[in-house]
């Protein structure tokens, strides 16, 4: 079941979706149980930005048909504090040696986002310097400050940004594509040509909900951030189509995610070409689900 991914030897193909598992908080909640049986074969951090962000005002969650809308707004402590405070804690939890060597450890993938090529370059450069970080995932679902559209929504713009920043790190670079685009395959191809070592998808679909008190007029958006992103079972069939479209276009490895709840869903993504599968929202329902999926996946593989 071990998988090679961008030069990393992973124990199994199941990792977490960025922003859906806070290993440091989880250690507070679950104690050493967590380190003893860490469910993911690599750990992806929440998106880190240059400056600290508070995130959106509450409410941040809405339960939709077959899924969850979140309007979290990428709260994080900012690059500097992440590197100074979180990295040592993560290294300890994941079993990483000081030089990043990790026999038997869980490699750390740091997810970053910037609103411009300059910001992204700075983020990549800073991560490159840290041995604890095994790979970098670049979230390009961030709205471009100029156009308001996701930086990753247009293949040409995406390639341009990536070419400008690629040289800043020699670590594996995973580009997390935006699903809110006309042609995700073209975006993936552009990422590959501009030097991405892997692509990951799908991020959440733009979605919204109105406040449930239906009598008052005008009704307000429920979420503090106005709109949010849909995840969970509702997006699974869309994710499968996008992962299939991307895997058919690129030669680099693909990390598939979106609504995975069990090993069959993970298998679907692998069958259309994903190398790794990430679990997000289902982890909220059961933090142990990643390990269970990895285990069941092995049984399916052996059974075939």
């Amino acid at each position: 079941m071990s998988v090679e991914f961008c030069g990393l030897a992973l124990r199994h193909p199941v990792i977490n979706g960025s922003g859906t598992f806070d290993a440091i908080a989880a250690r507070r909640a679950f104690g050493e149980d967590l380190a003893a049986s860490f469910p993911f074969s690599a750990y992806v951090s929440k998106t880190i930005t240059l400056q600290p962000r508070d995130g959106n005002p509450p409410p941040r969650l809405w339960e939709a048909s077959g899924g969850l809308i979140n309007s979290i707004g990428l709260p994080n402590k900012g690059l500097e504090v992440y590197l100074r405070e979180d990295l040592p804690q993560l290294a300890d939890l994941l079993g990483l040696a000081a030089d990043g060597a990790a026999p038997g450890a869980v490699p750390l993938i740091t997810n970053v986002m910037g609103a411009s090529a300059e910001q992204i370059a700075e983020l990549l450069g800073a991560c490159d310097a840290r041995p604890e970080i095994a790979a970098i995932e670049l979230n390009v679902s961030c709205p471009n400050v100029k156009t308001g559209l996701d930086i990753g929504a247009d293949p040409r713009q995406l390639a341009e940004v990536l070419r400008a920043v690629r040289g800043r790190t020699s670590k594996p670079l995973i580009v997390k594509l935006t699903p809110n685009t006309a042609d995700v395959g073209a975006c993936a191809l552009a990422a590959q040509e501009a030097g991405a070592d892997a692509v990951s998808l799908i991020n959440t679909l733009r979605a919204t909900a109105l406040s449930p008190d239906g009598r008052s007029r005008p009704r307000r958006p429920w979420l503090g951030g106005g709109t949010g992103g849909l995840s969970g079972p509702a997006i699974r069939a869309v994710a499968l189509a996008q992962v299939e479209a991307v895997a058919a276009r690129v030669a680099i490895p693909v990390v598939g995610m979106g609504g995975v709840q069990n090993a069959r869903h993970a298998q679907d993504l692998i069958d259309v070409g994903a190398t790794l599968v990430a679990v997000g929202t289902e982890t909220f329902r059961d933090p142990g689900v990643g390990a269970r999926i990895a285990h069941e996946l092995q049984e399916i593989m052996v059974g075939r």
Binding site: G31, G55, P57, P58, G66, F284, G288
Partner: protein, 272 residues
């Protein structure tokens, strides 16, 4: 703070009691960790969770651990939506997905200070286990004041969960006609050397917070928030922190020192 096993567990329902307008769900958990008063668990029925209108409930729901004895955990439920409704339907023998105990509970009063427990509606739940813990720690029943507010007499029957409670109702159908904060105000005026432990709807908690701030009385507020995970993963359950930024109710709380809050957010309270 007690740590939770790292995966949800299927526990068996041992009973469901009526308590006025509320239900008391009893669950066998002989091997589970002993919770701290104020901690909570994420609950989901193992069967038929979902499938209602809009396919909800989908995520598990947070419930305070209301009492713990002889390997049994108790939860006080109010039917306010699809999730709590489904849980209220559970019967002995049914299975319940449970993740917990989670979060930071109440901190014992510093020496020389009496505890005043202030609850509103279904928010009385964590005060019951707190009362048990105070008693176990040697507090005389007479030392602990329990003030509970409810909308009406049917809900006020929930007061039976705690010993020696004084009750207020919005409609005057039981106890003091008015707000539980009226009782608290009088209590603090009588004896300011107390620690207030409060849980209830946002408006009530904000009343308690403001009152205690004015009286310079320490207060620990057990907050609520819509939660997706309960263990710090989703950042969905935040309340504004005094001085800026947000706190996650599930890992920084649910019990939060009143001094850490500017005001209690409208989304941070229990049903009234």
């Amino acid at each position: 703070m007690s740590e939770a096993p790292f995966a949800r567990r299927a526990l068996t329902v041992t009973g469901m009691d009526e308590l006025g307008a509320y239900r008391l769900l009893r669950v066998a958990d002989p091997d589970g960790p002993e919770p701290q008063a104020g901690q909570f668990a994420m609950l989901a029925a193992a069967e038929r969770w979902g499938g209602g209108e809009e396919e909800r409930p989908y995520l598990p729901r947070a419930f305070s651990i209301a009492r713990r004895s002889d390997g049994e955990s108790q939860f006080l439920l109010e039917d306010v939506g699809p999730g709590s409704r489904r849980l209220c339907e559970l019967q002995a023998g049914d299975r319940l997905w449970t993740l917990g105990p989670l979060g930071r509970g109440f901190v014992a009063p510093s020496a020389g200070r009496r505890a005043v427990l202030v609850g509103g509606g279904v928010g009385i739940a964590p005060l019951a286990i707190l009362q048990d813990a105070l008693a176990a720690a040697g507090a005389e029943a007479a030392e602990t004041t329990v003030l509970l507010g409810f909308r009406d007499a049917a809900r006020a029957e929930g007061a039976a969960l705690l010993a020696g409670a004084r009750v207020a109702t919005d409609d005057g159908s039981a106890g003091h006609h008015g707000l539980v904060t009226d009782l608290l105000e009088a209590e603090i005026r009588r004896d300011p050397d107390v620690v207030v432990y409060a849980c209830g709807p946002a408006g009530m908690l904000e009343g308690v917070r403001a009152l205690c701030e004015r009286a310079d009385t320490p207060a620990q507020l057990a907050l609520e928030a819509h939660m997706a995970c309960g263990f710090g993963a989703c950042f969905g359950c935040v309340v504004p922190r005094r001085g800026g930024g947000y706190l996650r109710v599930c890992v920084d709380g649910p019990v939060i020192d009143a001094g850490a809050l500017e005001r209690v957010d409208e989304h941070a309270g229990a049903p009234a």
